[in-house]
Symmetry: C2
Amino acid sequence: MQSNKITKILKAIADPTRRDIFHALVIAASALPITEVSAQFEISRQGVTKHLKTLENAGLVEITTQGRERFCSADPKPLKAVQKWLQFYEQFWGDALSNLENFLDNKNIKE
Amino acid sequence: MQSNKITKILKAIADPTRRDIFHALVIAASALPITEVSAQFEISRQGVTKHLKTLENAGLVEITTQGRERFCSADPKPLKAVQKWLQFYEQFWGDALSNLENFLDNKNIKE
DNA sequence: GCTTTTTATTCTATTTTAATTATATTTGCA
DNA sequence: TGCAAATATAATTAAAATAGAATAAAAAGC
């Protein structure tokens, strides 16, 4: 996948199962081995592993090996990039016309 | 696509071309016919139309027919759902996490 | 009416994604 | 040593997404 960071992150969280896995890791008290993660889901352990790799590739999950186990923990920080992307469009929520004027004012391209 | 609202929205904005199309419509002064939208992109008009349908299905674009033309305009409001989804995780990239990082950093310095 | 413009529709090919099964590897432990 | 646990890897299947070509249809303008 040769896509940029924000695209990786958005694709990672666009899948409901991956959002569930991510959420389970965020609220977990500690890092969880893959078996323990996959035990919480209907799909196979291999399926969960692939989702974890996608999340890891987006920076949303960290996986560290300890003995024969691989411990997974969530890292929500990359979601800041999504929040930043949203910020631009936030000014257009609400009344369309006045917000467009705000945007044009900010850009100094209006009169 | 038989998925819930937030999944539709995230999938819609997970594609870079669709983000570009959406952005072009947001900053457009008025609604644009499909031909005018597709003129701004390398891909075919059919491709742009499909992306517009995906965006429309997510509620991010409104398309109204007027004569033989179909005018497209952006509606950023559904992005609120994404912001709301992010809000829960915001607390995990705040103080608690950086405190943990500080602790680990200090530990490394002492060793 | 005829032509051009705008768009939809149908069809096809390619790629990506999601998930499973089967097999192999590594590690911990009796 | 030998077995069970945890995981990886490979092969495969099925479905969905992406994109474009060809064709059809509707509306605008002459």
